[in-house]
Amino acid sequence: MSGTLSFEGVSMTFADGTQALSAVSFDVSPGEFVTVVGPSGCGKSTLLRNASGLTEPSRGKVKVDRKSIGYVFQDATLLPWRTVEANVGLLAELQGFSRSDRAAKVRAAIDLVGLTGHEQKYPKQLSGGMKMRASLARSLVMKPKVWLFDEPFGALDEITRERLNDELLSLFNHEGFAALFITHSIYEAVFLSTRVLVMSARPGRIVGDFKVPFAFPRPHDLRFEPEFADLCGQVSAALRGAHA
């Protein structure tokens, strides 16, 4: 089965000889939310850079329609000289949409991430959580079919992070994109995903593959259910094995 995004035996060796990825294969289909967890420096970000076409793998193939990719970075990467509104419209602007075409999309995206009323603020006036919302909205404007997330909530406090997780899932339900999400939080991975992949320390290989069976929409309290804890325990065990 090949999905919207397919990795086929992808290996990555950098010019200095570091091997970042070793024969990674998996698919992500529309409506799937795949999360990769792994120790830091295991090549998770390299995986995303390969998926997006920012870098090409040394061996193997990545199949994806590069035109419909959304990429959310570790930090919000907002342009500090642009207001929230202008930042959210940036990608549409770069891809040549006219001002009038952009306006409605930008409006809708800002409403959807809950930044209504903050359109004219500059990034320096926003909290970390609000910046990340703006960053999500910026991607959302382009209606990506494949959405790549590089530890987007890693720098946020626990409460903001949980709230953004809840909201990301409702976006996922609504938009039906295929998601590939990188994190080092097991709980975040299990809560968000339909499938969790565990990566080993460098060179990154997939050493665990878990289906997450919980139905959508996932209520906030799912995090405190025994089944949830149980699955987190299994992922954690796999991760410890990978680290050893």
């Binding site: 990429y71 990467t77 000289w81 770069l94 209504t116 609504h174 878990f210 919980f214």
Partner: protein, 309 residues
Amino acid sequence: MTQVKPPESAPELASYPEPTMHDIDAAAQTPLAVVDDDAPPLKVKRFRWSDVLGPLAVFAIFIAGWYALAYSIKNNFSPTTGRPLLVPAPHQIFWGVNDVRPKIIEATLLTAKTAALGLAIAIIIGMGLAILMSQARWVERALWPYLIALQAIPILALVPLLINFFGNNFRSRVIVTVLIALFPIVSNTLFGLLAADRNQHDLFTLNGASRTTRLTKLQLPGAMPAVFTGFRISAGLSVIGAVVGDFFFAKGSPGLGKLINDYFLNNQASRMFVCAILSALLGITFFVFFGWLGNRIVGKWYEASRPGQ
């Protein structure tokens, strides 16, 4: 080493019924939680005594030092009239200045014009060079040595050349100004252009941005704080350039440089000091202008920080 088994069967969570389309839609349509986590507070400008007393104290020390200097120099005052010869005391600064007031005003305006024109040309050339250098490493490496040489070369050595090509006049004065003001503009602009974050560049790459788009929408706007730092440094230098140029290329109506030289040769210390102070005021005016302009352009978004504020 671990063999990981996926859970055998999906645990059925009785408490979470299968979602209906309605649920999903409702979840997505409801405006997501109204955000106001921990937005940074707006900075309120507060009056501080130290903001006023600090500058006043420094000014008092400056004046006291000036008096001390004027009265500690031997034979600083004419034994007959008391006229200052080398350094006028602060209260003697206008001694004999009234007679030459129109001349000094005219010279000041001319020097201002020279400096402004030279600075404008330096900004255009300097930013152009920096943009060029930001586009390819080899261009940057090829041009640096000449820019540094330009910055270090004594103007004196260029005087014959400039006279030969441009004449012993206003044009050469402007060119000297350009030469002196150019370097900080190039180096600050280039620094700013190359300071864009890697992720921001990736974002532009992923969305198919052209070189020009990258320059106009990412690099140039991001460079503005550094660009204005360069402008402010060059603002002061442009006045120095105009005065030096005036001193070397003396044909035509005199600017402040020529007057300073004349008054110096005639032991007219007060007049000379007034001209020197006017040059300094010109420099400060230019500096303040660019500070104001920079603040208008980047103040809304740029965050300068000091510890504990």
